[in-house]
Amino acid sequence: MAKLYLIRRNLETFAGPMTLSEMKEAYKRMQFGLQDEVAGHCGPWVVFENLTAVKKHYPEIARIVNEDMLAGWGISDHNARLINEDTRRIEVRRVRGAGLAVTFLVIAVVAFAAAIYMANGSHLSGKAKGQQGFISPEEPQALLDRGDHAGFEAYMDEHAGEMVGRIVRARKPELQWLPYLRYYAFQHDGVVNGLPPKYLRGGVATAAPIDCSLKMWHRRWRASIKSWNDLIVQRKLPLAHWARILAWDPYWIRRRDNRGWIGTQNFYVGCLTMANHAMADLLADPSLVSTAADWDRMGATKIKQRLQWLLEMARDGRSSVPTAVTAGNNLSIWTCFEAAHDVKGLAKCRDGTAGSTALDPWQAYNDERYAFNLLRLAVTETAPLPSDLAAALAQQTQRIGKSDHFTRFDYRSELKLLHNLTQTGGGATEKAAAKATSEGGTGRTTH
């Protein structure tokens, strides 16, 4: 008898039991998503996206997750080699001796071919320019430097395939193309044909889902509709990417390294952009609900507002989204925390969260977020910490862990900075701050 597996969707409904081949078909029919769980006979439940756990408990499923389910999404397994994130321009080496001769020979042949081509009354077309050997990172960079976005788009439309080939198929991947491909991808739908998402994310933004494409966010939002109010109203913390992204800390994102990215982008910003677009698409889909009030009741407008806040804050450092706590909207408490400029403001936001047991995960998590926001206020200080902030931090020492357990954001660099601030009696200098963030790999640089 063939082995059977059961799929649990959003901790609410089940699909199956089914065989492996039926599972593949069910996935194609979108009966479940990668955020859902699977269990075998007398086995534990594991989330499809957690490939390490899938491999451990159900290796036969890991294979089809990799080969079939993720083929379209191009996810990598956890043991895959990490990409070297250092995408600084590779200096052209000085070619000597025989190498020099070969180079001149190649140039001469190419020049000769071009001369004959032009002599035949034609001009070098864009297509010809796109052939291997003719592109250089200086070209898209120059277009961006000039602010010629239309030119950049046209260039990428034409050459993205070639760049992907140089990364994916080359023996030595030319990672200097990645910033342009990433920028291009997240200006559109978060994908570049042929480029697996692991290259877009890289090995740094590990707290984000590997696949942050628009298509994947459409799936995530649609699959989670029934669970939205669990988070927004019911004080639950669904363990799913759609819920986690709403809990992201925009200041943490702004403090992260964006080497390998262009401008103010990084993968978290790209991911937020796609999640926001996908939610806007959903809100505009008349087939799902009949009126805007229905969306409001389901929590979509609250999610959209939260996403807009997160995106603008993470990308631009400012937002015009309202930040007051509103009844029946738990997400507004997080926004309120993030908008607070001082301890008093934070405490005011916190007042709206009281009234539950110590073991209420939601309450505990809000306490944790309050503490991380105190930390956020502290790390922007260079003078001695204000007394109220120092006192509030002293009370919250136990709550500030190395990472946010829900979003998995790592706060070790910030904690190091806080340590420096308190060790030096509040006299942390810019140099100390820079040291703390660079050691933790969090110094923000621009490409």
């Binding site: 082995k3 089940f14 039991p17 006979h41 004080r235 539950s356 047991t357 209420d360 995960p361 944790e368």
Partner: protein, 242 residues
């Protein structure tokens, strides 16, 4: 769908009283298993309050439409949770009592399952056994990241309950729905069974005794007692016959 139901409860070999409660109505396709917690008679009272309260709510309800089932289950559990808390406040000797709960409603071709605590419902189908419910324990919540470590007292047991009726004013309930297929067997039980008998052994016993459906609860209970019977044991079996 026709659903056959059979259940049994046993005090076990160590406990003096049975704090589990069981109710099932094969004609109405409705069943409840509850496992009381709390010293003295508290657990017994809490589990019987939960089971009787839900039973009454179900029997007194008008015809329930499909979309009304889950709100009905949540509303009834909320009401019983409030009553358990209120009685605990009123009678200091049972203060802190609580209970787990698994409530099954088979309606049309669907199972609606309400779950709080660490009593479990399994699906047995074609010699495969799957645990449908997630135990609301500290260990599970920590593993899933639903509970920060800072919220857990040092030395707290992994198996300690995070959710149960009577623990807090808000009682969060998991509601599961499943499409029914002929041949499915749902096993609902208290942790007196699962603490003593491994899942594979349970699956084996079901496979060996499925043709004697009426005797199956006793077979499982006897196995738990043979393994030590440290806790009360309750078993409810629901077999979908098409």
């Amino acid at each position: 769908m026709q659903v056959r139901m059979i259940g049994a409860t046993d005090v076990g070999r160590r406990r003096k009283n049975n704090q589990d409660s069981l109710y099932y109505d094969e004609l109405a396709h409705f069943g409840i298993v509850a496992d009381g917690i709390g010293g003295r008679n508290g657990g017994e009272i809490a589990s019987s309050m939960a089971v009787n309260g839900l039973r009454k709510a179900f029997l007194n309800s008008e015809r329930i439409r499909h979309e009304e089932i889950n709100p009905f289950l949540i509303g009834s559990i909320d009401k019983m949770n409030a009553e358990i808390l209120e009685r605990g406040h009123r009678e200091p000797e049972v203060l802190g009592m609580g209970t787990t709960l698994n409530c099954l409603m088979f309606v049309g071709d669907r199972l609606h399952l309400a779950h709080v605590g660490d009593s479990r419902t399994y699906l047995y189908y074609k010699k495969h056994l799957f645990q449908l419910t997630l135990d609301h324990s500290v260990g599970n919540f920590l593993e899933r990241g639903w509970l920060p470590r800072s919220a857990v007292q040092p030395g707290a047991k992994e198996g300690a309950l995070v959710r149960a009726m009577g623990l807090a004013e808000r009682c969060e309930v998991d509601i599961y729905e499943m499409e029914l297929k002929p041949g499915q067997l749902f096993l609902t039980c208290s942790d007196g069974l699962t603490g003593m008998v491994e899942d594979r052994k349970i699956a084996q016993l079901i496979a060996e005794n499925l043709d004697q459906f009426e005797k199956l609860p006793r077979v499982l209970i006897d196995e738990a007692n043979a393994g030590g019977g440290k806790d009360n044991i309750t078993v409810l079996l629901s077999h979908v016959r098409g």
